[in-house]
Symmetry: C2
Subunit: 603 residues, 2 copies
């Protein structure tokens, strides 16, 4: 049977051949996880995803969630899948052992998640509590840790994140929810939150809400926000469930996609009885919350990749099966062929493949930077990997969101009219994938983070390191006859990227030009992303070319040649356009800032 | 109140100032239509669209269509709007008087349609019969014309187009529906059709189906297909409605968007009693049908423009109202501002504006070519305009579909999380717009038409004429100080486009390279489209610059400056990327054809 959801061979290529994660397993932190164990876990994860999760994707979309008197009912088919995943600990595979998780390396967890996240709403119910647990584990008191973390990590209880309010979306400084100190040290919360993923549902016996709010008298803006633990049901000292807390779901959004996910409006303190417990110190709500931000960005990038990866495979499988029109150049009497033989379809599939492969490698590279920063033997190694990880997170989030979305859209295109109907999952993936460019910080917010914080940090050290790493791969490729020409083109792109980032960066520091610089922040993020694709695909080609020299078997020869052909396609076809985009950025057009607001559209 | 659906000022600019359609009105063909009358019609059309059609868009989406025992029920709110539009003849505004229509110039009809088509499903029920009527008017017998045309033109009866079958989508040569000749000269049809827009519904008392089918014994492939008139209810000689014919709706699609449109599966002859009447000559089905194809492409392009135009205005209006975050560079205590002041939002809006404006002009230009070809005083003028129209139709269809879709997607992005909910129409427009890249020939099919038929026709005469027209505008701009620099950049793009098309065209004629050429057909179509945008925006800027020299009033100054700023944005920012794409195409990478089919994804 054809591959579904993710291409296992390609995943293996990335984690074992391109990035040699076997080396990571030598670290004592991952004792007990050898290559064979990791492969077995991935195989099992893939199995449960294909057998139990895949069939619930469309059902979840069609059924959606129902809200009735504050109670949210999730799709019927989710219950069995949720329990299976929960009871077999698929929600905490890469959660550290000291928190009660399985402690598997993140490359294993994320490889499995590439399958599971195709049903993101289901997995969100299962794992939002992991983020909550992480926060409490890191900032909570001993008592809070004991009370909440174990049950959150096992998905017996669920978690959330109550940030957004109607007037406070991207701007969390505008939060108005308030907390009043009680005599017993607890707080009474009041306020309204919106867009709360899994804010209320029927899959867990309790939901632990971390809530951003202002303690009465706190400073205005971002500096006066604290974070509170607000359980749906208060938890008694013996750990059992007590009274229902005064936090209620008052509405669920009807959405473009991820319809099986309950996106809740929440009201706290309608009866004046919403009890909350301060987490960490007063007014430290945003720093504590931002601590989870990189994890959330990685998670959403992986979610986007899951849709792109699944949609691409659907398109390939459809193109192999759908018979339509004779081969180009054949006489009118020739029989019709599978559409994968038509040039435009091939071009489209290869375009998709180049992004899916590039994004998969980009994600696992970023993931590896995070791992290496944690496990580094030297300060130099730690700094390099930490720099890269900080720099790459806004890019991996925004770029994967946009490119995976385009892959989903093109997959629908391969299906033609059929893909526009709900008979095929591509239809849903297009809708589901769109959310990733919006939540956990829109692409515009990621770009502002990149230009405003990440590029200038340590005088551009991280970005210089990135260019340096890219150059290493280019130099390797230069030494290989088959890749010389591609290496030269990649080198040109990397150099142009350096210039472009410098231009935008200099303008961003100029008091007269910084607005124009920020009007180019997202285009800049995009061309960095393009160059990362080139790098990753060239790196793949280098890896494949080496393996081809080692008497690979016939199936592998096709696979490795495919890697080189994909790199060739991207570098010859897409890279010139990317360099053109860079030239456009370098012209630093002031048009967007010059435009009179009234001239955008007649009043 | 802010503009909605389409920017009337900009529409007026295009039809009266950029293209000077007043000249067209001097032609005797449009006697009775002076500028004032045309403006009045547009004002009335806009009014009914805003008041009666706009409110039904979301209702139609949520309600969808219901099929019960072969009867399709349309959304409740459609009935009143349909009757109002029908009874006031909004469906036949530009239908020639000799067919019973209002005979208004097409630029008037299409300007009104830019408002109306935001609810395409409603308008499809109203106007698919116009295409049917056109076909019968042109190819039918006197009796057929009398029987069907008047009632189709007034939307008393509806029409359809029964082409697609499960095995015959893009490849109509694979059609299997069959027609058996009866003793009385009529035919008995059998077969199954799918994806039939408005195949069955409750808004008209009869539905007249043109059906492609093979007469028994006809040649195989495209040469053996005939076209038949198959009424839902047979029509008696006195024009009244007779017996129910044996053609039935057996299913409706559940779709990504345009959910209020009944996309029907149709079965003919289940009881062996489906009566059809040959239209035109035997085996001439495809030529007759293709005759309507340019009209269908123009219609879908306009549909896409309507979504892009409406979504852009929604985004501008939202960005003017949504308050979030302080102005960039202001201290933390500064008040939050409307998001239209944020650089990334401005960039995004201006990007959208450049396409909406460019596409509107492109559409009206193409439309004008069609008009001029019909009304030409000289053979030279006829040939030029006919050439341009033939060349531009696949481009206007495919390019408008894709760019308008991207505009809708970016409009959602401006809304952030809110745009992902069904509370805002952008959510629906993203879904509705997607269909345009698929039906009436996918983008891939349009690109094949462009490269395989349109570019080579008359040794490239049409394309040469296009480049020549572009150069005229460039030369005008060169003479203007404010536009000199932009003109030089546009000139470079036009020259590069000439080279690129030549490269692809030469390869397409090479027996060894034609497949690779066709793998670049859609990228080629796209860069032609990009250059058309440049041309249209530069033309707008030339027009605006002239008007600025004539003591325009304050409001107009802002508008005209906006035109120049938009052209500057596009030419400085987007054009370099387009030239890069052309360089990518010129490299004529063979990767897509070299790729082993098995290497796209592991088996």
């Amino acid at each position: 049977m054809a591959q579904q959801l993710a291409d296992r061979r390609d995943q293996d290529f990335v984690i074992w051949e391109q990035f040699d994660n076997a080396k990571l397993l030598e670290n004592e932190h991952y004792q007990g996880f050898d290559k064979k164990t990791c492969e077995m876990i991935i195989t099992e994860g893939r199995k449960i995803a294909l057998k139990e999760v895949l069939p619930t994707i469309r059902e979840g979309d069609l059924e959606g969630v129902q809200l009735d008197s504050g109670v949210v009912t999730t799709p019927q088919s989710f219950k069995r899948a949720f329990e299976l995943l929960r009871d077999n600990d698929w929600g905490n595979l890469s959660v550290p052992k000291e928190m009660g998780g399985q402690g598997a390396p993140h490359f294993v967890g994320t490889t499995v998640d590439e399958y599971l996240l195709s049903n993101w709403p289901l997995i969100a119910y299962l794992t939002t509590g992991i983020g909550t647990a992480g926060m409490i584990h890191k900032y909570g008191t001993e008592e809070q840790r004991k009370k909440y973390v174990p049950k959150l990590v096992t998905s017996q209880w669920a978690g959330t994140m109550l940030l957004t309010e109607p007037q406070a979306g991207s701007d969390l400084g505008a939060i108005e929810s308030s907390a009043k100190r009680n005599a017993d040290g607890t707080f009474s919360l009041t306020g309204n939150k919106i867009f709360i993923t899994a804010g209320e549902h029927d899959l867990a016996e309790n939901i632990i809400h971390p809530v951003l709010a202002r303690i009465e008298g706190a400073p205005a803006g971002t500096k006066g926000i604290s974070i509170f633990i607000v359980p749906k049901y208060l938890v008694k000292d013996d750990g059992t469930i007590g009274a229902r807390n005064d936090i209620w779901c008052t509405g669920v959004e009807h959405k473009h996609g991820i319809r099986a996910s309950a996106t809740c409006s929440m009201t706290m303190g309608a009866k004046g009885e919403c009890r909350g417990y301060l987490l960490g110190k007063e007014n430290q709500g945003l720093p504590i919350m931002f601590n989870m931000m990189n994890g959330a960005r990685m998670h959403t990038a992986l979610q986007a990749l899951a849709y792109g990866s699944a949609s691409y495979l659907l398109a390939v499988n459809y193109a192999r099966e759908r018979i339509q029109s004779r081969e180009l150049g054949q006489p009118a009497t020739a029989p019709p062929v599978a559409i994968i033989h038509h040039p435009d379809v091939r071009r489209n599939l290869l375009w998709m493949k180049s992004y899916v492969c590039g994004l998969r490698s980009f994600f696992q590279f970023t993931n590896l930077c995070s791992e290496k920063a944690k496990l580094a033997a030297t300060e130099e190694e730690r700094q390099l990997n930490s720099d890269l990880f900080e720099l790459l997170t806004p890019i991996v989030k925004s770029y994967t969101a946009n490119r995976s979305y385009e892959v989903c859209v093109q997959a629908m295109q391969v299906y033609g009219g059929a893909g526009y109907t709900q008979d095929y999952l591509v239809e849903q993936f297009v809708r589901d994938c769109k959310i990733v460019s919006i939540y956990e910080g829109t692409c515009g917010i990621q770009a502002a983070d990149l230009l405003g914080r990440k590029l200038p940090m340590n005088k551009g050290r991280a970005f210089m390191a990135l260019l340096n790493e890219m150059t290493k791969t280019v130099n390797q490729a230069k030494e290989m006859d088959a890749l010389k020409e591609l290496a030269a083109k990649a080198e040109k792109q990397v150099a142009k990227l350096g210039e472009t980032a410098m231009t935008v960066g200099m303008n961003a520091m100029d008091p007269k030009k910084f607005k124009t610089a920020f009007a180019h922040s997202l285009p800049l993020l995009d061309v960095i992303g393009d160059t990362l694709m080139t790098w990753m695909l060239l790196w793949r080609a280098v890896t494949a070319a080496k393996k081809l020299g080692l008497n690979a078997n016939k199936k592998d020869v096709a696979f490795y040649n495919g890697q080189i052909t994909t790199a060739r396609f991207f570098i010859k076809t897409v890279v010139p356009a990317s360099i053109g985009k860079m030239m456009g950025i370098q012209s630093m057009s002031t048009a967007a800032m010059d435009m009179e607001s009234d001239a955008f559209a007649s009043l």
